[in-house]
């Protein structure tokens, strides 16, 4: 049977992983390839590399670091941030990534999802979306609004309308990142994760807020997510004690979540 995935997300600046809290106060953790290699050895299922300043600085993605990470990890690897065209996607895939994740750019130019899916297959195209609970009102029937540009800009777009459109355009996977929960270690927003999972037929990934194995299990069961993005719990210096992949998987299996067996 298909198992659930644990995905480690790295926010990268200048080749180094940093950890922010609700999109602010970045602190330095480690070189991206070192952390990637360590997590690969610990049998993480997947890695997302987020070039967090590429979009804001309107520069191209850091391909050298992408290549370096790809040489160290033999699990799937997604790149996010700074993708503005199909040619950018091509370069990132050629550097060794499996998937491209688009976010703010796709809200401004939704056709990039279709163009990317046509060129490389929809399984390459991940739509990542930053959502915030704002309450039900006109034009926002789900009560969740899509934000862009590091959660700074409100779009007035309803979260569920947007993920349905993204799926129609060709996104092969949807990441639901809760702005309210990001960096809080208080658990995923299960309501919106579940609502998105019910709204689309492609796999949905829970993101933002995992602080314990229990939170992850809830995202993968009550939240109906196919995968869980984690970061702080693995390596944030703000955490009193970081947990390893082996430990997390053992706890998830105890809670009845099917995981790829840990190989000793």
């Amino acid at each position: 049977m298909l198992t659930k995935r644990l995905i480690a997300c790295f926010d990268v600046i200048d080749g180094r992983v940093t950890k922010a809290q609700q999109f602010q106060d970045n602190i330095d953790v480690a070189p991206a390839e070192d952390l990637a290699a360590r997590l690969y050895d610990d049998q993480i299922d997947e890695i997302v590399f987020y070039d967090i300043t590429a979009s804001a600085q309107r520069r191209k993605i850091d391909l050298e670091t992408v290549r370096s990470v790809a040489r160290h990890v033999f699990v799937p690897f997604t790149v996010r941030g700074g993708i503005r065209s199909v040619d950018d996607m091509f370069e990132v895939l050629k550097a060794g990534a499996e998937k491209i994740s688009v976010d703010s750019m796709a809200v401004r130019t939704p056709e990039i999802i279709r163009d990317g899916a046509t060129a490389f297959g929809r399984q390459c195209l991940v739509l990542s979306t930053q959502v915030k609970r704002v309450g039900v009102r006109a034009g926002l029937p789900s009560g969740y609004e899509v934000f862009i540009d590091g959660a700074r800009e409100a779009t007035g777009i309803d979260a569920l309308d947007w993920v349905r459109r993204g799926e129609d355009l060709g996104a092969g996977e949807i990441v639901v990142n809760s702005i309210d929960r990001d960096g809080t270690a208080s658990g995923y927003d299960l309501d919106i994760t579940r609502a998105v999972a019910d709204a689309v037929t492609v796999p949905v990934v829970a993101s933002g807020g995992a602080g314990t194995a229990e939170h992850i299990a809830a995202g993968l069961t009550k939240g109906a997510a196919s995968a869980a993005i984690i970061s702080s719990i693995l390596y944030s210096p703000r955490f009193e004690r970081n947990l390893g992949v082996r430990e997390l998987k053992a706890e998830l299996v105890d809670r009845g979540v099917p995981m790829r067996p840990y190989l000793s």
Binding site: E98, G121, P203
Partner: protein, 201 residues
Amino acid sequence: MIDVIDYRAGNAPSVIYALERLGIDCRLVSKPEQISTSDRLILPGVGAARATLESLDESGLVDPLTRRVGEGGVPFLGICVGLQVLFDRSDEGDTRGLGWLPGEVLRFPVGERVPQIGWNEVRPTREHALWEDVPEDGHFYFVNSYYAVPADPADVLGVTDYGLEFCSVIARDNVAATQFHAEKSGSLGLQILANFARWTP
């Protein structure tokens, strides 16, 4: 020396990185004359069957590949879409495949999330050099919306469940292929690549 076929729609660099980690001699090839003299070939794949075939065709690689693997008998490994293009036809864009193996490629039935993305169990159906040091319940990384249905059951080498039981690994003579991404399936995936490098069909 393993030659990894590089074409626009492929993810050949990931396969090269994996072979380099294993210490296996390898290179990217993209020209017909390189394939005509190759000793061992990998056809990686991501994305769509039609884009893959068009890309191979535009580069003039289809004929040399078919000759080298068919008449030349060199060991060949297809990965993901590199498995799907070996059959007669694919539902994906109603595409005609290379036709090296009889059978077709179908879309997963309604009911499961498509694409299948993630680690799933592969059960070997018979002994083969590719299975050396691979456990019977090994998990590998899949990303696929379509699956192959070989017309000849003897071509099946491994099966996986996703809504239905499908053929996830094939082998016939000197041709083998995995639906999963061996280059992205951790240590077990690397083991499959190492086994392919040593395989003498």
